[in-house]
Structures are given as structure tokens and as C-alpha cells.
Amino acid sequence: MSRILIVGAGPAGIRAAERLVEAGLHPVIVDEGARAGGQIYRRPPAGFTRTAAQLYGSEAAKATALHSRFDAMLTAGQVTCHARSSVIALSAGVAHVTGPEGAQQIGFDKLILATGAMDRLAPVPGWQSAGVYSLGAAQIALKSQGVALGARMVLAGSGPLLTLVASQLIRAGAQVAAVLDTAPLADQLAGGVGMALARPWVTLRGALMRAHLRRVYHAAVRLTGIESDANGPTAVCWVDRAGRARSTPCDAVALGWHLRAETHLSDLAGVSMRWDPQFHQWLPQADDYGRAAKDVYLAGDGLRILGADGAELAGKLAATACLQDLGRPAPDVAQDLRRLRRMQRFAKALQRAFPWPADMLRSLPDDAILCRCEGISAGDLRDALPLAGADANRGKALSRVGMGRCQGRYCQLAGAEVLAAKAGVRVAQVGRLRSQPPVRPAPISAYVSDTRKDGAE
């Protein structure tokens, strides 16, 4: 039987597994979560009591359906799942995995990468302070732990998650002092029309959620800095639409501008990457089904950032492509492809409505920390330009921006923007950081064989 490995058990990975199981195959799944569901449908630990409606709101039925489908496949022995495990490297036909079972190698004939996405971050001066988080972190803390990350929070950035997280926190009883959106109103209106044409109900739901935020929400904001003392953030400083300098006291901040595809494994698998000006990031290239390289298929937000509904469709399509390429009967997917295109229209309009704050980054002060991991400033990167040229990888080698423990996940887009501005070139010309294995920390203990039994360590 063909060995099919799926990386990631979010909406895309679960639907891909389901389609393969329906075709009589037994996929192996590696997932970093303790329980399958991914980030947006993340499940709390056992023993928690909030209902699906409390956790997932309008999406409760979808979340429950995915969770129970996965659990049923697992219980029936139709899939093998390595939970709390990471694929840290790929070599020909072999995935290198670490997890509670230690280090292991899993061979495969076909690989489906459903690695999802993370927050797309733009540095704000002072963001290195303890108590500044990503927007996704604020949502994960609430959903999977039932906590707010501060007693008085400011949420800042742009995109659908900004409104969603604010609304979820307020409903749960957290104090949200301000929701600061960098998107200009004209962009929001222009993008909003396209969003409403593609998915009217989803757009209306978002608009209503936004309306409920009332005076806490501010559009067309310019973020100027996060003030801190030894205990963490004390205020977010910003300039409002009318050009007035404002300051909102707080003890925690959550930042995010949409999502950024997690592409380290697809890069290592040999998939070509292309600068996408609409999504403002490097994205893998694949056909409509997700075929991306020989025996490599991509699905979900790691390929196209369409959100959970799009990820479910993409998971089915990638598995279908897999079945076709194995010469097995595969279901007709014409309708799924049409729905996927509608979601793409919606996602592109969304990007137009809530743009990446390029101007804010290009004028980032020299002393602002750009790389959170190692405390490297925007000025340090600019100083590297004469020797590095406008090249992301040489800039990394000379300044260490992107070399820290997040491996450039949170600083590389901003770094490219800063280099491009200083060099006077377009951001795509700066290029992207090459992915390097291991793509997650690899504990040395997992690789050291415990053969000495003489008491020495």
C-alpha cells in the first residue's frame, strides 16, 4: 500500500486524511498539537468545560464536525497520528520527526504538507517587551487556556483576526482598551465591496462584529511605539486619523497583520516560491489541486491563505490529486474547485481591505528592534546594506536578522521592507530567506543514543 504522510492536523490535514481513508488508504499524520484541530479549531485540554459554541462561535458546527471525524478515524485505526510531534527536516522520501517518542524517521511515497500559517508581524518600536504578543497568541490563550494575556490589553494591526480576537476577548470578560487598525478607511471600503460580492454572509458577520466594538475601534491608525517599564508594556502610542498623537495605557499588547504561510517544509521539499504582491509574501507555487513538486502536495493556509473553510476544500483537493497520481479512482471535484475560486476572490479583496503597513516599516527608526529573537535593530540591518547589497540572505549573514531562534518567521518580511527602502528597490527584489533544517528546535537528547550504562552522563 502507498505510504502517504500528512503534516498537520488542522482543517486541511483532517479533510485530506478523510478522503484518503475513504479510498481505502491508511495515511500517517504528524501534528504539533496535543489534539487534532489546528490553530483556529484548537481544542482545550481534557477536562475543560466550555461548549463548542462558547469556543468557536458561529463556526462551532464546523469545528465539532472536524474534531469528531478525526477522532472517529483514529479510534477505528484508519489513520496513525503522531501528536505533539514536529517534522524538522526532509530528505529523499524520509521525514525526520521529533516528539514524545524521541527522534524517528518516517518514510513516505507521497507527502501532503498542511502546515498552516502564523501571524504576519510588523515590528512596532518597543515590541521586544515582555507582554507583547501576537494576535494569534491572544486567541490561543483564550481558547485553549481560558485566560487573557493582560488585565488591560491593546490589540493592534489589521485584518479579520484583529476584530475577531477583540470581540472574543470582550465577550469573555477581558478588558480591551483599544483596537488599533492601521488600514485606511478607503481601502477597507474598496476591499469590502469585493469581499461582500464573493462571500456576503461572512462579510456581513465581520461588519457586525466590528460594529459591536464601537468606540474601542480606531481605523487608519499609525503606530509609533510601545512604552514599557521593567514589568512590561505600560502604553501604546499612536497617531489617529486626524493626525493627533494619542497614548492608550495598557499592560499587554497583541499585534498582527493577517497571516503568513508556514513554508519552511515546502521550501525544503523543493517547491518553487513566488512573490505574491496581493498577499505581500512569498508563497509556494502549485496547481489548483495543490500539486507542488514530485510527490509533494500542499493544502491549506501554508499554500494559499484562505482561512479554515478554504483549508477544508484544499485538503480534499490535495488528497484527490494524490489519488489521481496513484492511478486510483477519485471523486469529482468540479464543485470544490469552483468554491475554492470564490474563496480566492474573497481572500484577495480582504488583502486589499487590510493592507500590509509598508510605509510604517520603511520609516522604522534606526533604534527600533527589528529582530525580536536577538535584539537587532533596524539600524543594524541598514548598516549591513553597503556590504550585503539589497539581498535578504546576505543581509541575514551580516546582521543576523533572521538567524535567531524563530528562523526569520516574524522578522523577515519587515527586514526585506527595510532593506528595500534603504536600497531603493522593490521588496520582491530583496528575495526571501532560504529555509534551513531543523525547522523546529531538535533536542540533542533525541539523537544521543543512551548506550553507556556505567553511570557516566
Binding site: Q145, G146, V147
Partner: protein, 103 residues
């Protein structure tokens, strides 16, 4: 400072005792190590590269900001490790690591 995190729900869980930098603390069953420490403290560890402290950032295993130490040696990622009774957690490396650098 007191705790950073505010509990909003799921508070009727059994208590779990652990230590952090030698101080006896109490979390709840189902807490991550990060949640349990930050409900009593403002941060997890010092930064190796600047004057500020660190308290985690992404909470989804992508940023590697929240790695802390245990008295018996192995490090752990606080956002993705469930709290267990009796854990002896440290914000910095134990004094004897790396070997030869301290008593």
C-alpha cells in the same frame, strides 16, 4: 509584580503544585507551563540579547521565545508543555551548566 495573566473561565479545575526559581506556586490541571507561571509572575525568563524580560510571544510553537529550564536539566517550551505536579522550573540555566562554568 503579580501575575500577568487573568483567568476568565475554566477556574474549577484541581490545583497542581510546582516550583519556579525555588518559589512554591500553584497552577490548575490543564494549564500549560506558561499559563501556570504567568498567573503568578510577569515573565518567564531574562532575554539573552537585551535588557528586557521574556514572556512568550506566539503561543503556538513557532517563535521559540518561551524556552525555560528545569532543575533536573532538560529545557522545555513553556507554551506547549502541560504543567505536571512537582515540576521544578527555572527562569535561567542551573548553575552547573554548561559543565565547568560554575560550581
Amino acid at each position: 509584580m503579580t501575575g500577568r495573566i487573568v483567568r476568565l473561565a475554566e477556574t474549577a479545575r484541581p490545583e497542581v503544585r510546582f516550583t519556579f526559581d525555588g518559589a512554591a506556586l500553584t497552577g490548575l490541571a490543564g494549564d500549560t507551563v506558561l499559563t501556570a507561571i504567568l498567573q503568578a509572575r510577569g515573565d518567564l525568563r531574562p532575554s539573552e540579547f537585551g535588557p528586557e524580560r521574556r514572556a512568550g510571544f506566539c503561543l503556538m510553537g513557532a517563535c521559540q521565545d518561551c524556552w525555560i529550564w528545569q532543575e533536573q536539566g532538560p529545557r522545555l517550551r513553556a507554551c506547549s508543555t502541560p504543567l505536571e505536579a512537582g515540576m521544578a522550573l527555572l527562569s535561567e540555566a542551573p548553575g552547573h551548566w554548561p559543565a565547568g562554568t560554575a560550581p
